[in-house]
Symmetry: C2
Subunit: 321 residues, 2 copies
DNA sequence: TTGAAAGCGCTAACAG
DNA sequence: CTGTTAGCGCTTTCAA
């Protein structure tokens, strides 16, 4: 590895001058600067990040802690965050708890390695998160934690839009297939749905704790745990929605003719087939990183809601009744 | 941040002894050791990784470079790698090129930050990769690069199994929907398919450059760019396969009664619906990291093939003719 | 405009 | 068994 000293010697200057020529060019004579810079490039100088971090106290990295790397919901958030970070010459230290140590432990283990952290931890306690925030600049995602800045996908509001879409199509009794964790956000979504549909003179049949897989939808299509007057179903996962669509059609039920199906997330690969709710997750990731980089020491502790957008697909239609 | 010196002072010993008490406990008197360790825990000591890296020359991190974070094929590889790394107290520096700088540039920017790198770069030149390998311990995935250790999903062999499965069901003329990049691995897959199906007295109709989305499958179902005697289609992506299944059924074609559908990848969320090819990608990621950690300076430059497994689903059946 | 020197926090020789 | 010392490679006062 070529060190600063090697370049300095080759250029016939001191380490100090070489260092300045690279990081504070304006403080160095033009010709010296150019000589150093040329030599640095030619010799393939690579400043040792550890040495720099030791002195400056900053690593240039941001930690991102997620429950799972394979969950298609988190991936776009990470992608957006990563992108924003790379743009600013930063690096992403990504850790997934995925059945291993919890998110809090992971974050702690990254304490000195990063300048801050972006945390997605649906199950961690608020106290733990707050304590973490006192040890390093922190931003949480999809959670509300007092005194900690947050970026939240506004799916409750989105579900409201979705319900309005359905009631406008004439649906009154609506099924809702909820998430596996019974998270507080899911409760907010259900509440929002009930509020809207009740206003339209209908009701919501809730089925909880479903795994986000096609098979879940197929099973639900077979069992039909909803009232017989349910003409539309919202599922929190596109895979469940797809399974419902396929399963109902297999049983001779016309989708969307007889039953409408919608997803509360958005699967890009599903294209225009499913009516769904798209949250600009890359943007969410970018915004979170941006907040962390702008105010590295202590980002303002407020909640930024990212609005969801209704994507009308071919899986919802006028209620036939 | 609590430093080693703080703990040392509190324990009434030198920094050296404190350091040893933590990293080489056997070299320290029992009572001293315990005092230091207790204090370290109580005070929340957090050894500065930069200082340690500066001295040892090792960062404890591994870089993972992928084309995209949202591609469901890469995610399990990263997850497995991450897991293996976390188990050994390592950290993952993940970078995605995703339309930004190329994989090679990303790897270079991480040179001093990691002890080695795991590279997924389907489009980078072999020379660039080899040069990178000379600058840091490197393992490539799903590529063959002379003199660089590689871990490759053996999908060509898997496609052979898939074809055998189909010919045994009586299919002779088979459609193949290829990947978007026209990668060398895709060519190997097609070659393997042709070899097998020709041996059975049939043939393969290839359609190339498809986007891995449902809509692609729906479109193909409508256009049917294959010969009219094609009774089975293999798609490189489960989403395309799903689209085909849904699209064909919408047009009144029975799947799998009249046409069988199979995927060359495996989408866990699709459950038992699709006949597909499962490569243990987490394992692949784990193995790659393990190789990098075991021989950090220069892993043996050989190719490790990870075998694919045929998963029989409900989308393939006996050819009706 | 440049150089000498100190020091970031840690670890490992080397003495004692 | 423990302490003293030197130094990893960089940046930045402080003087010249």
């Amino acid at each position: 590895m070529v060190r600063l000293e090697d370049v300095a010697r080759a250029a016939g200057v001191s380490k100090a001058t070489a260092s300045r020529a690279l990081s504070r060019p304006d403080l160095v004579a033009v010709e010296t600067r150019e000589r150093v810079q040329r030599l640095a490039a030619e010799m393939g100088l690579n400043l040792n990040p550890a040495a720099r971090a030791l002195f400056t106290g900053r690593t240039g990295a941001l930690a991102m802690i997620v429950p799972s790397l394979t969950n298609p919901y988190f991936a776009p958030i990470l992608a957006g965050a990563q992108q924003e970070l790379t743009t600013g010459n930063g690096h992403a230290l990504i850790a997934a708890s995925d059945g291993g140590p919890g998110e809090i432990e992971l974050a702690q283990s990254l304490l000195g390695h990063a300048d801050g952290a972006l945390l997605i931890a649906p199950r961690a306690s608020e106290d733990d998160i707050r304590q973490l925030a006192s040890r390093m600049p922190l931003v949480v995602i999809d959670r509300h934690v007092r005194d900690v800045p947050a970026f939240v996908a506004d799916t409750p509001r989105g579900v409201g839009q979705l319900v309005t879409h359905l009631t406008e199509l004439g649906h009154r009794r609506i099924g809702y297939v909820g998430g596996p964790d019974g998270s507080s956000l899911d409760r907010l979504r259900i509440a929002a749905a009930k509020r809207r549909v009740t206003a339209a003179g209908g009701g919501v049949d809730v089925v909880g704790s479903a795994t986000p897989e096609l098979d879940t939808g197929l099973r639900l299509a077979a069992q039909w745990p909803f009232g017989s007057d349910v003409t539309a179903v919202m599922a929190y996962s596109s895979f469940i929605a797809l399974g419902l669509l396929i399963g109902l059609r297999e049983r001779g039920v016309d989708v969307p003719g007889e039953v409408s199906i919608a997803a509360v997330d958005h699967l890009a690969a599903a294209g225009g087939l499913l009516t769904s709710l798209r949250v600009p997750l890359e943007e969410l990731g970018r915004a979170a990183v941006s907040a962390l980089r702008t105010a590295p020491t202590a980002p303002a502790a407020r909640v930024t809601k990212i609005r969801a957008e209704l994507v009308e697909g071919r899986s919802t239609a006028v209620a036939r009744r």
